[in-house]
């Protein structure tokens, strides 16, 4: 069977599965729509959370990011997993005990203020919308590359699928499809990784293979070999640190507290039956995430080594040690047509040279070899995952599986984000502020309409991404880290934190982070409006805009604490509320509301 048919078959089968689940798990009440009736088993919720969390970027781009950044990419690995420790220890059990439907609802009740709830709604919607654009784009790209349909058609098919299970089933439908999507995506990710690891090291476990010796009989460790190969070509050593330590530290911290503060992740923990389940469920979520996150470094390193050795077939500098243009493997030609990979014979020797032509020290050497510039003019980082099965010579069904996996990763994250957005609109804005007396039936209808609207907006933005789409991930994490995480934490851990402190603190954290990001990336990301060049020399203490969320959070904590000291303490019933959420007993009673 040819690849095209196989891909349609595999992707079609997964889509049929998602729709089947949607029909089986329709939501009948607002409780089912918002939190799946709080009856999801902690292991199942952990799996759904993992799919919710791991986006198109985690699946397609992260290994490539690691391949090119080497050690410095550790910030993403630690940052996007360490947040779950904060979630399990500091937020999830208490918010589950509180037993309501949305994150802004907790903020509004705990700080006895609709204003605080509104600020939380705004932060949530901005963070979630910016995030969902990337997922919709990911769906379109996956369709375009594997099924050869137009980008727009791809986005529309993705929207239609999400529409069916998210509008029908709400959180209940989303939860069970996310579990199926997790299985698809993790299988699709690990199968090529196992083969590539076997190929290079003889060890089928990528996590161990990365630390093993090469199976070519040389007895050299894979990582030592990689360091050697890249430095021979003028690149920085793979395992060496390139960025500043302070920036790495703060970026890791920002990503961790941003992860813990992202509403679409937090609401997943409202779906388990008990407080104790919320704690273990976070552990299960991280187990399922860690399977991919500990495999990714192996995929990145091995794919980088494979790529270089494909082009540089012998000792650097020897005339015949570079691959001839006519001999490049099929996968290189295949991916050249997609524009993700490109090369050009600059010195006209009929061979390809791939090296770091930005390295001044290496330049003289390159010149003596007769090299006149890096000839791999385009190596998109996504290639490291997308072309992996072809590089390892795996059968067509594995390639088809990678397509289905990429789609599963994008769709599951999109659905989780869309639920966070629609519940903020129907539950926080409509029921919480505009029409408190609305009946449950009408609220359920409103939540379905809000979901449909959110899907349309997300689809539109996915097809017409604002020019700043690539920049906004910093914004989503910055907002979550500087505003949502601190206000939730203070609401639980500081009984004396009051309304004034919470609101002023949130605004201080939010504005300082926004201004810092806009300062270097342009006001509202409009090109040319930045106040200073976005380079390390101009950053305050060398802190990149992406890493500023942790500083924003600190500002939030300090300002909130100072304001709460000079304003009236929270009323007594609020202090009782805090005491109540700190103990697990009585959680099942709280959900009836």
């Amino acid at each position: 069977m040819d690849l095209q048919t196989m891909t349609y078959l595999v992707v079609g089968a997964t889509f049929a599965l998602y729709i089947g689940i949607a029909i089986w798990s329709r939501a009948g009440t607002t409780g089912e729509f918002y939190v799946a009736g709080a009856g999801v088993h902690p292991v199942a919720n952990g799996m759904a959370t993992a799919a919710d969390w791991m986006s198109a970027a985690s699946f397609i781009s992260m290994a490539g990011l690691i391949a090119f950044l080497g050690y410095d990419a550790s910030v993403y690995l630690m940052g996007w997993t360490g947040g779950y420790v904060l979630l399990a220890l500091l937020l999830a059990p208490y918010l589950r005990k509180f037993g309501k439907f949305t994150v802004p609802e907790f903020v509004g009740d705990r700080f006895y203020s609709k204003g605080a709830r509104l600020v939380a709604v705004i932060c949530l919607i901005v963070a979630s919308i910016t995030y969902v654009i990337g997922q919709m784009k990911g769906v379109g790209v996956a369709f375009g590359r594997f099924l050869e349909v137009d980008f727009e058609v791809g986005v529309m098919v993705g929207m239609a699928i999400v529409f069916v299970y998210a509008v029908l089933g709400g959180m209940k439908g989303i939860t069970y499809t996310q579990i199926a999507q997790y299985c698809v995506l993790i299988f699709a990710y690990t199968v090529p990784a196992v083969f590539i690891s076997l190929n290079l090291t003889g060890n089928p476990v990528p996590q161990i293979g990365l630390g093993s010796t090469m199976s070519d009989g040389s007895g050299v460790l894979l990582l030592d070999k990689l360091d050697q190969v890249v430095t021979d070509l003028g690149f920085a050593a793979y395992t060496a640190q390139k960025g500043s330590t302070l920036n790495m530290f703060l970026l890791t911290l920002s990503l961790m507290i941003g992860t813990a503060g992202l509403p679409h992740v937090i609401i997943r923990f409202f779906t388990v039956p008990k407080v104790a389940d919320a704690r273990t469920s976070a552990g299960w979520a991280l187990v399922f995430i860690a399977i991919l996150y500990t495999t990714a470094p192996a995929v990145g390193a091995m794919a980088r080594l494979n790529l270089i050795e494909t082009i540089q077939t012998g000792p650097v500098g020897e005339e015949t040690a570079n691959i001839q243009m006519s001999d490049v493997p099929d996968w290189m030609n295949n991916w050249k047509t997609t524009g993700l990979l490109d090369w050009e014979d600059k010195n006209g020797d009929g061979r390809i040279q791939y090296y770091n032509d930005g390295n001044a020290e290496f330049a003289a050497k390159a010149e003596s070899f007769g090299w006149t510039g890096n000839e791999m003019t385009k190596v998109d980082r996504d290639i490291m995952v997308l072309a992996n099965p072809e590089i390892a010579n795996l059968p067509n069904w594995v390639i088809a599986l990678v397509a289905a996996g990429g789609l599963a990763a994008a769709l599951s994250t999109a659905a989780g984000l869309l639920l966070a957005i629609s519940s903020a609109i129907s539950h926080d804005l409509l029921k919480g502020m505009i029409a408190p007396d609305i009946s449950e039936k009408k609220e359920l209808l409103a939540s379905r309409i809000a979901m449909a609207g959110a899907i349309l907006v997300a689809g539109y933005l996915g097809m017409n991404p604002p020019g700043f789409a690539a920049q906004v991930v910093a914004l989503a994490f910055g907002l979550a880290a500087s505003s949502i995480f601190p206000v939730l934490m203070m609401g639980i851990f500081n009984k004396n934190m009051n309304r004034e402190g919470a609101i002023v603190g949130m605004l201080a954290g939010l504005l300082s982070t926004l201004i810092y990001i806009f300062w270097f990336k342009g006001w509202f990301f409009i090109p040319e409006t930045n106040m200073a060049p976005n380079t390390a020399d101009h950053w305050f203490l060398g802190i990149s805009p992406e890493a500023f969320g942790a500083v924003g959070a600190l500002i939030n904590f300090v300002v909130a604490w100072a304001v709460s000291k000079v304003t009236a303490a929270p009323p007594e019933n609020i202090q009782h509320l805090v005491e109540d959420i700190r103990v697990p007993k009585g959680a099942s009673a709280a959900v009836e509301h």
């Binding site: 690691i66 050690y71 990419a73 550790s74 690995l77 630690m78 997993t81 360490g82 779950y84 420790v85 399990a88 220890l89 500091l90 059990p93 996590q207 161990i208 990365l210 630390g211 093993s212 010796t213 460790l221 894979l222 990582l223 030592d224 395992t239 640190q241 330590t245 790495m248 530290f249 890791t252 911290l253 008990k274 407080v275 104790a276 704690r279 273990t280 976070a282 552990g283 991280l286 187990v287 860690a290 996150y293 500990t294 470094p297 005491e579 700190r582 103990v583 697990p584 007993k585 009585g586 959680a587 099942s588």
Partner: protein
């Protein structure tokens, strides 16, 4: 632990959180970032130790930490009689 008041439960919880967060900090920020060069002088399997903590070890530790916390908290919940059902 004879004091079974809500305050004692909360103090015990905070103590446990501080302990877990100390480990969380050590494996990622200390071993993975601040002391990475020093630890890279040691090797574990075929990995340099600092690099291993940054790309593998810290993640494994995070998983263990969450289950450890959940297990200790379940015991505390029962000891202070604040567990559910």
């Amino acid at each position: 632990m004879s004091d079974k008041s809500g305050q004692a439960y909360w103090r015990a919880n905070l103590k446990l959180i501080m302990l877990c967060l100390a480990v969380w900090f050590v494996v990622s920020y200390l071993f993975g970032i601040l002391l990475v060069d020093q630890l890279n002088a040691i090797s574990i399997g075929g990995y340099q130790l600092g690099f291993w903590f940054a790309q593998q070890g810290s993640i494994y530790t995070f998983v263990v930490l969450i289950f450890f916390y959940a297990w200790r908290m379940n015991k505390l919940d029962r000891h202070f009689d604040v567990h559910e059902d």
